[in-house]
Each structure stands twice: as structure tokens, then as C-alpha cells.
Symmetry: C2
Subunit: 362 residues, 2 copies
């Protein structure tokens, strides 16, 4: 089997060992004589998986008991609406920090169901190349929450340090950097993210919500859209995305076996250092627009001196089985997505290709 070097921006690479395990037990899960695709979500066999996924996540991230961990369908895009739908209302505002395309989308949905405001934006001519400094944030101490997008997948920026929001809880879209490293969850009232970058396959979205925010959640909205509904029933109010949650559980086990998030962070920093190291060795060739203190460890974006060279770069990448390097259509150029399960060896091969290519064309 000729495994590709998967730099897709999401869905993305999964650990090979996890895929092999899924494959080996696909026809007979836990001795049931059925596939995990065929078991009841209300069976003991599945509930063990469902609950293990939560407890592993709690363990890896040190999530205290006053947080619920939910598994929902509909994508992070549904959360753009569900979060403000549950938490905003007449006379209730929230602060949004705009740092990229996804935070713009989150703010747009929030405006439809409440009265949020922009606390800061780093947009310039439709582009985003940095994370704002603390002093730039015009925070409302009465805000229900401050919304950030921890990693801006399209523009390649990432919050290296989370903002100080005083007593106001942070709500974070962590779709594209969740679990890249350990972090202190206490300032966060709610975290959400689609699994399909750093956690599992497309099809499940994780929502982690603190009890005080849960208590404030509205009950005058559709039952299926209430966080309270899903928290009360351990995400089993209706049929959850069973298979995606099963894979999440296997991925979390894999991280734990490797050494947890401390190990994960080490790997991620090494991978990013390798790629940015090449970029910084050829700054006139690999043109990285992002401010150094805002560089994303997950998505490195850059341009080449011409579109012709960019096309040549991508063409040559194919021969090496590097997949997914084309930058987002709104940005152009190249984007190296090096999520958690992209092997260091793939990153090493790409780095060498980049060095050769620069030497050959600079």
C-alpha cells in the first residue's frame, strides 16, 4: 500500500494504527458479531465507547467535572448558530474577535440570533495576517462571552496565548487546533470543534461546556438545539454519530499511549519548526505573510514569487504523493496543514522537497 503524505486541511490524516484497528474489527466489534456500524447506540458495547471517549478527553486535557463533553452532529458550522442561540438573547451581548474567515462566519450567524459586537478585528484589505494584541481588544465586561477562533485555518494564524477576558468566559472555536497541546481550560466557558482536523473523521463535533454557562442556556428554543437537552442525556437524546465517536475514542487512546498532549505538543512544535525553518531560510522565495508571533503550528501559509512557480511546486508535489498543499481559494499560494496525525516523516519529506525546489528555482 502506497500511503500518501496527507497534508489535507480537513478532513485530514488519521493515525495509521487507528485505521488498521478499525479495519481489523470492522465486521465484528467487541465480539458482538456485528460491525460498530450496526450496533445499537443504546447497547452496553457502544455506551462503553461513548463514555470512554469522554473520559479519555477529560484525562488528556485535565477537564474538571464542572464541564460536560458533548458529541453532536451538524458540524462546527451548526455551532456558529447554536452557541449564540443558546447563550444570547434580549439585552445580552457577546464579544467576537475577528481573526479570519471562520470567525467572520461565526459572527455572521451570531448576528442573526442575538446582538453580538466586534471586540477587535485584524482584517486588512480582506486578509488576516496576525492575532491581535491584548491592548487591541475592546472588551465589554458585561459580555456573556468572548468568542475567538483559536486557529485560523485559512489564513494560517493562531493564538499562541489566549486573551485575558477578566470574568467573562472565553468561547473558542478550536476546530483546527484542538488537542495540539495541553492548555488550561478554566478561562473557557465553552469550546467547540469539528473532529475532522485534529481528532477524528468528519461527522462529529465536540462541544465542551462549563456548568455555569449551561445553566444560562435558553429553553425557549427548539429542543434539539438546546445544549441542556444534550447535556442531560449524555449526547444520547437522539442517535449520535456512532462511528465517528468510536474513531475519536481510538484516536484519544492512541494519543494517550504515545505520551499524551505533552508528547503531542513536542511533535507538533518539531514539525512546525521544520517547515517554518525552510520558509525562513528562503524568505524571498517562500513568502510567509503571517506575523511571526501569530504563525499557526497547524497551517503554514506562504506564496512563491509567481503563480507559475506555485503551480510547478504543486505539480512536483504530486510525484512525491504530497496531497492537499494548495492554499485556500480565497488566499491562493500554498498551505501546509500539519495536524496532529500527519507523521513527522511526511513533514520531513516535504521540507526536503521545499529545500530542493527553492534551490532549483530561487
Amino acid at each position: 500500500m502506497n500511503r500518501a503524505h496527507n497534508f489535507n486541511p480537513g478532513p485530514a490524516a488519521l493515525p495509521l494504527e487507528v485505521l488498521q484497528k478499525v479495519q481489523s474489527e470492522l465486521l465484528d466489534f467487541a465480539g458482538t458479531g456485528m460491525s460498530i456500524l450496526e450496533v445499537s447506540h443504546r447497547s452496553k458495547d457502544y455506551e462503553a465507547v461513548h463514555n470512554a471517549a469522554q473520559s479519555l478527553m477529560r484525562e488528556l486535557l485535565g477537564i474538571p467535572e464542572n464541564y460536560h463533553i458533548l458529541f453532536l452532529g451538524g458540524g462546527a458550522s451548526l455551532q456558529f448558530s447554536m452557541v449564540p442561540m443558546n447563550l444570547l438573547g434580549p439585552g445580552v451581548s457577546a464579544d467576537y474577535v475577528i481573526t479570519g474567515a471562520w470567525s467572520q462566519k461565526a459572527f455572521k450567524e451570531a448576528k442573526l440570533v442575538g446582538n453580538p459586537r466586534v471586540a477587535a478585528t485584524t482584517e486588512e484589505d480582506g486578509k488576516f495576517t496576525r492575532i491581535p494584541k491584548q491592548e487591541e481588544l475592546q472588551l465589554d465586561p458585561q459580555a456573556r462571552y468572548v468568542h475567538i477562533t483559536s486557529n485560523n485555518t485559512i489564513f494560517g494564524t493562531q493564538w499562541h496565548t489566549f486573551p485575558n477576558t477578566g470574568n467573562v468566559p472565553i468561547v473558542a472555536d478550536m476546530s483546527s487546533d484542538f488537542l495540539w497541546r495541553p492548555f488550561d481550560i478554566k478561562p473557557f466557558g465553552l469550546i467547540y470543534g469539528g473532529a475532522q482536523k485534529n481528532l477524528g473523521p468528519a461527522g462529529v463535533t465536540v462541544v465542551i461546556i462549563r456548568d455555569d454557562l449551561l445553566a444560562l442556556c435558553r429553553e425557549d428554543i427548539p429542543i434539539i438545539l438546546r445544549f441542556k437537552t444534550h447535556a442531560k442525556d449524555n449526547s444520547l437524546y437522539n442517535t449520535p454519530p456512532v462511528f465517528a465517536i468510536y474513531i475519536v475514542k481510538l484516536v484519544l487512546e492512541w494519543i494517550k499511549e504515545k505520551g499524551g498532549l505533552a508528547w503531542m505538543e513536542q511533535e507538533n512544535r518539531a514539525k512546525a519548526a521544520r517547515i517554518y525553518g525552510v520558509i525562513d531560510s528562503y524568505p524571498e522565495f517562500y513568502r510567509a505573510p503571517v506575523a511571526k508571533d501569530s504563525r499557526s503550528f497547524m497551517n503554514a501559509v506562504f506564496r512563491l514569487p509567481s503563480e507559475e512557480l506555485e503551480n510547478k511546486f504543486l505539480e512536483g508535489a504530486k510525484a512525491h504523493r504530497f496531497v492537499g498543499l494548495k492554499g485556500h481559494r480565497s488566499v491562493g499560494g500554498i498551505r501546509v496543514s500539519m495536524y496532529n496525525y500527519v507523521p513527522k516523516s511526511s513533514v520531513e519529506e516535504l521540507a526536503r522537497y521545499m529545500e530542493e525546489f527553492a534551490r532549483a528555482h530561487a
Copy 2:
């Protein structure tokens, strides 16, 4: 491998050949060197699957071009809210026909976002044992739609003939009998169903919506909850549940190879006839409460003369690897779910077990 006889009510049995195909290509999909779990939803390889799932469905059901076929996350329970959220509004009513627990849930959500009314209900003392006759339906000719639940999974009743609703489009929750047989889609304005009974695994919900209803859909609701959003972008507005849609595509191919829905109907009628045949041979023992003209071909529900005998029945079932026969907690007793991909051979073994058990205990 000792394959169980899977009578689970959903998630449910899938064709073994489909599971084997998924297993064989799990690590390398279509020569990409990646799993289907790892490819981009915006890649040509996945879009071919995404579009094939739709065209196969169109072909099998004879769905004309003036219907969109959508693949959404969130379950059929999200559709309970999304349908009226898109279609109801000030001065706009809809008729709901209440025939079981799921139609009660659909009506409950609809009341939160609009002003629907009950056109008929067959509830008696909290139970449902029949489908209403045409004369019982008190239909409003001004209704935006008439909502029915085509198969009542919990109570074991099913619409054998769809109601005549005049010019008013039918909206049907077909979660537990979609694709059991061919049918004329033209009276339907919208059909929805979670895949996890008759179509695939948990994780994707199909919504089929006719153009005239789509044109009426609201645009003053969250972007992610608008049918127009998903129709315009071929269900690729955000990341779809890739793997679940891939399995749906394989299942539809399997049906086509076997002979399409005409073949499927034949199989389903034979399976149901076998089980109801045993029930009707021992009517004092296998006590089926459902009116004969309302019997579900998908879920046969019955009680035994005592709970002790029911427990004995279920206990003995285990030795035969019959899974999922316990009736829903709100109904008790036994429920035989014989969805599309439950093999006739499993139904035959269960029928023999039922005959032996009745002879031994009657």
C-alpha cells in the same frame, strides 16, 4: 466470524458485502493512498461518491429533477425542527397526523417554531395501534404541508397507502421505512429520514425537497439551518458526514445490483409474511395489538402471555445470536425489526425459534 442475527431497531444491519468492501478499501480509497476517512470532501474522489449517492437514489426511486437530495448531519430529530423552521411562519399552518411517538416529537418541535395543528390522531391511552383512515383526516386545504410518519418504529404501524391530501404536499418522516419499496414521490413535497435503519449507518440524514417547497423556505433563519443553503451548495456548504454518505452510496449500489426496489419490496414482504405468519398461527400466544391493515413491514410488535415468558423468549434468543428483539421501553414486549438488510435467512431462523417457543410454552 460468527455473524449475529441483527434485529436492532436502528442503527441496524447493513449488507455484509458492503461491510466487506468498506473493510477491504479502508486504508486506500480509489488509489488515493488515503482512507475515505482522510480525504477532502472537496476532492474529486469524494465528490464522485457524493454525487453518485444522489444519482443512485434518484434512479432507484424515480425522483424527478425538480427535487433536491440533501445529506445533512444532526439526525432526523433535527429535521423535526428544521422542517417547520423553514416552512412555517406567521399565518402559515401545517397539518400533523399523529400515529406514534416519533410523530408526537415532530409535532412538539413544530409547535415551538410555528402554528401547526393536528389533523388526526390514533392515540388511545398513550398507545397507537393503527393508521387513521382517509375519512378521519381533518385536513386544512390551506396547510403548507401535511406531516406523516410513514413507519412508526416504536408502535409497529405503517402507512400502507399514503393519504390523499389534495393540493397540499405531504411531508414524510421516512426514517424507518425509506427504500422498503418503490413509491410515487409526486405527492411529497419533502421526505426526510435518518440513514441508520434502511439506508446506512448513523451519522447522515437524507432530506429530499421539491422545488416549489424549497422556493417557499425562509431566509430569515440561521444560515446553517436553511434548506436553501444546503440545496444551493449540493450539501457541501460545510463538511458533510463523508463516511456515512460513502456507505449510503455503497448500499444503494448493492440494492441496484440485487434488482432495485422491486426486488427489495419482494424480500421485505416475504420476511414480514414469515413473521406475521407465525404470530397469526399462535394468536393467543403472540399477541399483536396492531390492526392488520396497519401492520408495519419493518417492525412487528407483539407481547407474550406474561412478562416471565417475554423474558424467557429474550433469554433463549441470545443463544441463537438474535440481537435487538426487546420491545421499546415505552411499549414492552417484543419487537422484530426486519429492515432492508436483515437477511431472509435470519428472519427464517427467528421464525422457527418463535414456532418452537410457542409450541413449548403455549
